[in-house]
Amino acid sequence: MIYPHFALELEELTVSFDGFKAVNGVTLYVSKDELRVIIGPNGAGKTTLLDLICGRTKPTDGKITFMDKTLTRLPEQEIVRAGVVRKFQTPSIYPKLTVFENLEISHPKGRTAFGAIFFRRTSDVVDRIHEVAKEIYLADLLETEAEKLSHGQKQWLEIGMLLMADPQLLLLDEPVAGMSVREREQTAELLRRICKGRSAVVIEHDMKFVRRIADKVTVMHQGKVLAEGPMDDIEKDPRVVEVYLGH
């Protein structure tokens, strides 16, 4: 049997914290162009799974491959440079810098200390910042200090910071948490738009939102994959209804 070529491959991924297996033998394949949503009850190991992929936590066992590159033991910045970026659950932006500067820092040029000292704000950098700012609905707020943005705008800004590096895989942890209905719609639109030609793994609880964005859904429970498939099938799965959706 010939397997289709996947972008992200997780094989038998396990991490154990003092004997507690937060993620236990997870195998997961995400194709290029796919937007995968991970759902599951609290403590199911969703965030830990993202931590493992982006290198924040090192796995006890198993293998992570992205575009034929093994990420398992790489330091965080190397994983980012391989095209994998991560958005955190609470918006992680630089509060004292402007939206423009936040995006500029996220530009891949000048990533070493000396590179940063001699970094020049060239027109291609500025153009890219304007392009991304437009995409994330912040084009008019470039000179605003990031801490003055609304909660939803901060979430967008962080997504924009990820886009600056033109990543291949986006890992997004609850991107619409704390957003208004209108903002959720805009975010869904944004995600559909930016995930073209890329892959994404999104953790989300809002089922309406999940239905709008997901190509495929993976349900996690107690560190393991409980079910996987299109949203319509998942919603009918009796095991999923019991541990998660039924509540």
Binding site: R56, V80, Y94, P95, A116
Partner: protein, 388 residues
């Protein structure tokens, strides 16, 4: 040229600030102060190098170093070693033959002789050459900062833990320098320094020249610091301070960034140490231990830890206060220092610089509002009507 003007001098407002400081240090102080006080200013200014370094490292980068005296001291000791060897050579050539016979070791620093060391230790040899001394003065502290930085930041040691470790290292250095008497002059330090390349540094004219050199050094450090902080590197430091993980997950090696700023701060502090030795003519381990290192942090906090220029004012204000109050009320000094520190951090978290940029305009508005002569009643009504 225009970008350099903006990045190094900080544009118009930055240039004004720098010009005021330069005017004060280069013109006002030399005209107003008697030579003794001017020399004292030179001594204080050599500490301001550390305060400027701390603005970059602590204020921007968020790396609190309570052991910056370590690097300041290493710079000072390098300079002192060179001056001491020169002094020792001069004594040997000036002394009569009988005296030379009485000395067991010709051309060796006196404290080595007292400690029965008959041959110059190998690590003293480079200090025979002035260019080598200048190089080592920068290289040695930078390499040590690099080792500390790599060891700590790669392991994600930060915050209070890092501060405590720097303090311990600083103390360790003091103990090392005190106990290795024959190599370092022990508790007395390296004293009786007289000439720099044949130029007598103790004369009043030399002292004032050294003062001007120190001021130039300070101004160069401020311009250099501005250039660094106005680059993407400066914004990255702020980013690391506020949201370290985000920087890491934007593809940067955070440990490398922190180590770089720590090394730059170490080199800058070391230059200050060397100027100190030229200003006062000696170096002692008591000057490089924990207490002075904490003072350096206070200088920076009082001046405003986000302002390079503020750091200089902070150093001068606290040092002058220290000299004044410890002369007048020695017992009260520590309590006063402590209260000033608490007051500044609580009322002016941005220090003198913050007070100057925000406090002064606010106070001016308050004053003009409250002490303006009350205008006659009808006029007030007219003004009220005129303003919607």
């Amino acid at each position: 040229m225009n970008t350099l003007y903006r990045s190094m001098l900080g544009g118009r407002s930055g240039l004004i600030g720098l010009a005021i400081l330069a005017g004060l240090l280069l013109i006002v102080f030399p005209l107003l102060l008697e030579p003794f006080r001017l020399n004292m200013m030179g001594k204080y200014l050599s500490l301001a190098f550390v305060a400027i370094a701390l603005v970059m490292c602590w204020g921007y980068g968020g790396i609190m170093s309570l052991g910056q005296g370590l690097f300041w001291g290493l710079g000072g000791y390098c300079m002192a070693a060179f001056l001491k060897l020169e002094a020792a050579r001069n004594i040997a050539s000036e002394a009569g033959t009988d005296q030379i016979k009485a000395l067991s070791t010709v051309g060796l620093p006196d404290f080595m002789d007292w400690n029965q060391i008959t041959e110059l230790p190998w690590f003293w040899y480079p200090f025979k050459s002035f260019p080598l001394t200048l190089a080592l003065m920068i290289v040695v502290p930078t390499v040590i900062a690099y080792i500390i930085g790599t060891a700590m930041f790669k392991r994600r040691v930060g915050g209070v833990y890092f501060a405590i470790i720097t303090q311990a290292l600083c103390w360790a250095m003091e103990i090392l320098f005190v106990t290795r008497q024959g190599w370092t002059g022990g508790i007395n330090g390296i004293t009786d320094l007289r000439t720099l390349l044949g130029w007598d540094i103790r004369t009043p004219s030399a002292q004032s020249s050294i003062y001007f050199m120190t001021v130039v050094g300070i101004l160069v450090c401020i311009v250099l610091g501005r250039w660094l902080l106005n680059s993407k590197f400066g914004r990255l430091l702020v980013a690391v301070r506020d949201m370290e993980d985000r920087v890491r997950f934007s593809g940067y090696d955070v440990a490398n960034l922190k180590t770089t700023v720590f090394c730059i701060a170490a080199a800058m502090s070391a230059v200050g140490g060397a100027f100190f030795v030229l200003n006062v003519g000696f170096m002692s381990p008591k000057l490089v231990t924990i207490e002075p290192s904490i003072y350096m942090v206070i200088f920076c906090a009082v001046g405003g830890r986000m302002s390079l220029i503020g750091a200089v004012y902070g150093t001068l204000a606290v040092s002058y206060g220290r000299t004044f109050f410890s002369e007048e009320f020695p017992a009260l000094w520590y309590f006063l220092m402590g209260s000033v520190f608490i007051l500044v951090t609580m009322v002016f978290p941005d220090g003198l610089a913050g007070a100057a940029t925000r406090g002064v305009p606010a106070a001016w508005r308050w004053l003009t509002r409250n002490f303006r002569e009350p205008p006659p009643a009808p006029a007030t009504a007219a003004v009220k009507e005129a303003q919607p």
